[in-house]
Symmetry: C2
DNA sequence: TATGAAAATGGCACACA
DNA sequence: TGTGTGCCATTTTCATA
């Protein structure tokens, strides 16, 4: 059995795991040399490993997540369908070819075992997609708008330093989408070193964010345009449109790199 | 309202759409010059456009899809949760920080409005993730194993030539996972030009695939080791382990490039 | 858009266990 | 034999204008 499935029991070592972690965090802007430096091996090795992981099917593919609503007012919709277990593979395959379908998940359940995400320019095109699903034998049980989607790398494959830094310390929800969060400014975040005014004008700080307090060395500062944001400041942020993974981007360390510089083991 | 949301009504032109299409198909191995050639503009323009699309939040991020089951026997699980609408944003944010969580979808529904995909090394770590979800206020309604996931670019942004070529013409399911498909060999597929034997030994043709018939120019050939596969052959393929998006990879045109050469619009 | 400098990639030969 | 490494030509990126 294992003869024609040689990839089943592939074992990863620490290098593979860190590669996967880095690529999950940012598949496009993470170069082999960048990963190489983190794990202290040569860039060529990283490239070889990536090739292997791809060949063995561990790494499936690299995608781009797109906000279709911003793009052209497109509606992202999740269809939850029932398909017969025998044809699940085949139907999933054909479903993924329907124009507008961007993601298909096969689940090991009796009901709602096929989740299909499709994008439509309008209600009409979504109806068309719904019909196409039915014709292929996927019975639609539910149809919901997808508001947003967040993807994260697999934490256990990340750097050991269990730095939960970039998470909001506390979140207080207000009316509507607005809410308040406290974040600790990471030591290599993008916003560090800018004054509030610079951050705003350079686009480092999104327009709908308002910094209402800065806690530094135990005292609370009143934020002014010329106040400089430093590492380890605890910043209280008010957001009009809701806190989002990407909203707090500037406060975080760069995606692919660890929080503190890793000590090269073998220079 | 639109004043502080300048990105809402961003309009894409044909170049933007083709960029998005190419990056959705392969975020990592698609270089700016490759896209540039397809749409007949300079590579620098493509690069600028990509930067703009990223800045405006149209392109959210680039990830890597990983088969954790192959990797280390990891279990990929979908938790369908209820969260209160007011805190949806904040909870989703915190949920995404739980170690092991790799994807969170926010839905615009009353029930099951948060879909969380997590990877666990074993049942125990999934229980831990389940508890973490509950503690954050996400009530778990359902918990299913994810068997597989397929992602596709948004077809309407692709090349006009509505080439549905790479789709299996017909799928017949047999017992178990095995089934039979007919595919038309794309004119620039990887397998074209190889004999069956070469394709097998070079890894172009997966081990669990068996070619049972080749239809060419209206006649049906009996496949032999020395039979060469040509473009436009209609090949009948038997698969032991089920047809998969990736299984038929070799029959398809390369991901990022159109089926036939695109006619430059403005040389 | 174009151009030149810097960086990354892919291929291949070689060393090492 | 397989895996890591160093070096090469080529491609791609990035920051100038």
């Amino acid at each position: 059995m294992a003869s024609h499935r040689p990839d089943s029991g592939y074992r990863l070592d620490e290098i593979d795991r860190r590669i996967i972690y880095a690529l999950m965090a940012d598949a496009r802007n993470t170069s082999a040399p960048m990963i190489a430096e983190e794990v202290s091996v040569s860039p060529a090795t990283i490239r070889n490993r990536i090739d292997q992981l791809e060949d063995h099917g561990i790494i499936r593919d690299y995608h781009t997540s797109v906000d279709f609503e911003r793009a052209e007012g497109g509606l992202t919709t999740l269809f939850q369908c029932n398909v017969s277990v025998e044809n699940r593979e085949a139907i999933a395959q054909q479903v993924s070819a329907i124009p507008g379908v961007i993601n298909v998940r096969k689940l090991m359940t009796g009901r709602r075992n096929l989740h299909v995400v499709a994008v439509g320019a309008d209600t009409q095109s979504l109806e068309r997609i719904g019909r196409a699903l039915s014709e292929l034998g996927a019975e639609i049980e539910d149809e919901d708008l997808v508001q947003d989607e967040i993807s994260r790398p697999y934490t256990p494959y990340g750097p050991d330093e269990t730095a939960t830094d970039p998470t909001p310390t506390d979140v207080i929800s207000l009316t509507g989408d607005a809410n308040v969060v406290e974040v600790t400014v990471s030591s290599d975040s993008e916003i560090r070193g800018y004054t509030l005014e610079e951050a705003g004008s350079r686009g480092v700080l999104p327009d709908d964010l308002l910094i209402v307090a800065i806690e530094r060395d135990g005292t609370v500062l009143t934020p002014r345009g010329e106040t400089t944001i430093r590492a380890d400041d605890v910043v209280t942020v008010l957001s009009r449109d809701g806190i989002d993974d990407r909203t707090l981007h500037s406060f975080r360390p760069p995606a692919a790199e660890p929080v503190s510089d890793s000590e090269p083991i073998d220079p």
